[in-house]
């Protein structure tokens, strides 16, 4: 799924959930900082990173 800068994680989560999918993303009020920005550039630590890797690991294509 491709996200533009400014998309918040809660928006991304709603969209992926509606498609029956899961996105490795941030865990904070509002869904952390921008889903296509700072969270990723800091590595991307997620509660499900132990299973799918850091946001910036195998989750970006």
């Amino acid at each position: 799924m491709t996200l533009g800068a400014g998309v918040q994680f809660w928006e991304a989560y709603e969209t992926t959930q509606a498609q029956g999918r899961v996105l490795v993303g941030g865990d904070a009020p509002g869904g952390s900082v921008g889903a296509a920005g700072g969270w990723l550039l800091g590595g991307g630590h997620s509660p499900i990173s132990p299973f799918y890797g850091l946001g910036m690991g195998p989750n970006i294509v």
């Binding site: 992926t16 904070a28 869904g31 509660p47 132990p50 299973f51 799918y52 910036m56 970006i60």
Partner: protein, 187 residues
């Protein structure tokens, strides 16, 4: 967009050096990221693990935290992950057990819940200790954070990788180090 104003497609095939540099080390140093393509995964069920405890006793809090640090390897082995919040007088747990049934998750966490409840005699008040099954991480995440909630908080960010060996042999030392940080810690 790079510093010359050019739009670049950056991935493991196109500008792989820049792709590498963007992955955690440089923040916004190398340009402006205008869009990102994520991989997604099928939804799996999970079990949420929640604990809230508070005490006026520093020593009791240290005992609880030390035990929690000690069991981290076994929690990781059982597919547990998440956040814990240590404040000067309280400890809160927001964990999940990925693709684990509530029955299995209970087997893993019940000894820790019992440990916490047994600290009642040491002045610990356990106001919440429960597991909840969720059909997906979306359901786990959403009730905690309404879409209208503002992001961000007043924290200093740091990263520490602590080896399994250190956790297994010096959980008390790690607990002491965490407790020495003024104002509380989220991890």
């Amino acid at each position: 967009m790079d510093s010359s104003g050019s739009y670049l497609t950056v991935n493991s095939h196109s500008h792989p050096d820049l792709f590498w540099a963007l992955r955690g080390g440089g923040g916004g140093t190398y340009g402006i990221v205008t869009s990102v393509t994520y991989r997604t995964y099928p939804i799996v069920p999970l079990t949420g693990i929640f604990l809230t405890a508070n005490t006026k006793s520093n020593n009791t809090l240290r005992m609880l935290l030390s035990e929690f640090v000690r069991i981290q390897p076994s929690l990781s082995d059982a597919n547990f992950s998440g956040q814990a919040v240590l404040s000067p007088n309280s400890f809160e747990l927001f964990y999940l057990a990925h693709n684990v049934t509530q029955t299995e998750a209970n087997k893993t966490i019940d000894p820790f819940f019992e440990f916490a409840k047994n600290l009642t005699s040491e002045g610990l008040n356990v106001s919440l200790a429960l597991t909840v099954p969720f059909p997906s991480i979306y359901e786990w995440f959403t009730p905690r954070y309404p879409a209208t909630a503002l992001g961000g908080d007043n924290s200093e960010l740091a990263s520490r990788l602590i080896s399994r060996n250190t956790i297994e042999h010096n959980s008390q030392g790690i607990a002491d180090a965490i407790m020495s940080i003024d104002g509380g810690v989220i991890w």
